[in-house]
């Protein structure tokens, strides 16, 4: 079968595309962020704690079920907050209602 391939008109595999521009872009995005963070408290930890405090004033929740995630893009970053609430209303919620 391999010999047949010699005669086929299939082109030779293209060389791998240059990867240096990807390295450069990844570094630029990462370092722009890391430089801003230097010497500052961890922003995500801070957000997580304050969101947790705000929500738990009204709803009983398990602190382990609060996930704060950040996805950084070149121009826009997204902050994703995922809080799992128990189905049974907690005492605080009942009291508030």
């Amino acid at each position: 079968m391999n010999i047949l391939r010699l005669f086929s008109s299939r082109p030779a595999p293209a060389p791998a595309p240059p990867s240096a521009p990807i390295a450069r872009e990844r570094l630029q995005i990462l370092l722009a962020h890391e430089r801003g963070m230097r010497g500052q408290p961890d922003l995500l930890m801070l957000l997580r704690e304050e969101i947790l405090a705000a929500v738990s004033r009204h709803v009983t929740l398990d602190p382990d079920k609060v996930i704060v995630r950040m996805d950084r893009g070149k121009n826009v970053s997204t902050l994703e907050v995922d809080i799992e609430l128990p189905n049974v209303p907690g005492p605080k919620l009942a009291a508030a209602g």
């Binding site: 595309p17 990867s19 240096a20 390295a23 570094l27 370092l31």
Partner: protein, 271 residues
Amino acid sequence: MAKVLVVTSGKGGVGKTTSTAAIGVALAQIGQKVVVVDFDVGLRNLDLIMGAERRVVFDLINVVQGVAKLPQALIRDKRLENLCLLPASQTRDKDALTEEGVGRVLEELRTSHDWILCDSPAGIERGATLAMRFADEAIIVTNPEVSSVRDSDRIIGMLDAKTVRAEKGERVEKHVLITRYDAARAARGEMLSIDDVLEILATPLLGIIPESQDVLRASNVGSPVTLNNPASSPARAYVDATKRLLGETIAMTIPAERSGLMNLLRGRRAA
């Protein structure tokens, strides 16, 4: 006036010790009085690269703790009389280094040398912070590779914040030294280019050391590449970098590996 120069990088294995030895030799060859100091406590290697591993009696920690006097611990190079080595301890741990003690030893070295080259350990722990603490100038050794560039950026931030000079509102003069550069791969877009690295780090370039077999050959025999094979491309690049360090203006060329049949034959014979 004596200058304390730290050779640092953050990341390990990028060529700090090789560069310290090669530049130390090049400075001494120009006639400067040089001491190279190994700060990598517990994992010393500068002695081995300098070919002085069997002559170590006392080390930096012995001097810091007052067990030995500085002249007893300094190892004079057998090939260059104005080059000395102050080795690190192989057995003690890095906590034995104190800021006060290191400062005192460096002050004493300043009185008798033109250049004090501090070979930093990798990382950002005590050994690395003390190696840069008293620096007047810094060489940040960087490979054209993402993790090395990122760590260099972090180290540059520390040089601007955590050195004695920075705390006094003065600057540590910083230079980037790119090592293990492969011009052919960079031209094919397989490796970060010099411009990419410099644009990202925003720090002046001291030199470009090409990837070369001569570097390994030099460390095999315990003779810094600038001494072992002065005609080789990395040695010439180190000498150029050293002259720039002394303020000379030298065009930034990327020394190419010699190639061709003759060189192949010569390389065979030399190897």
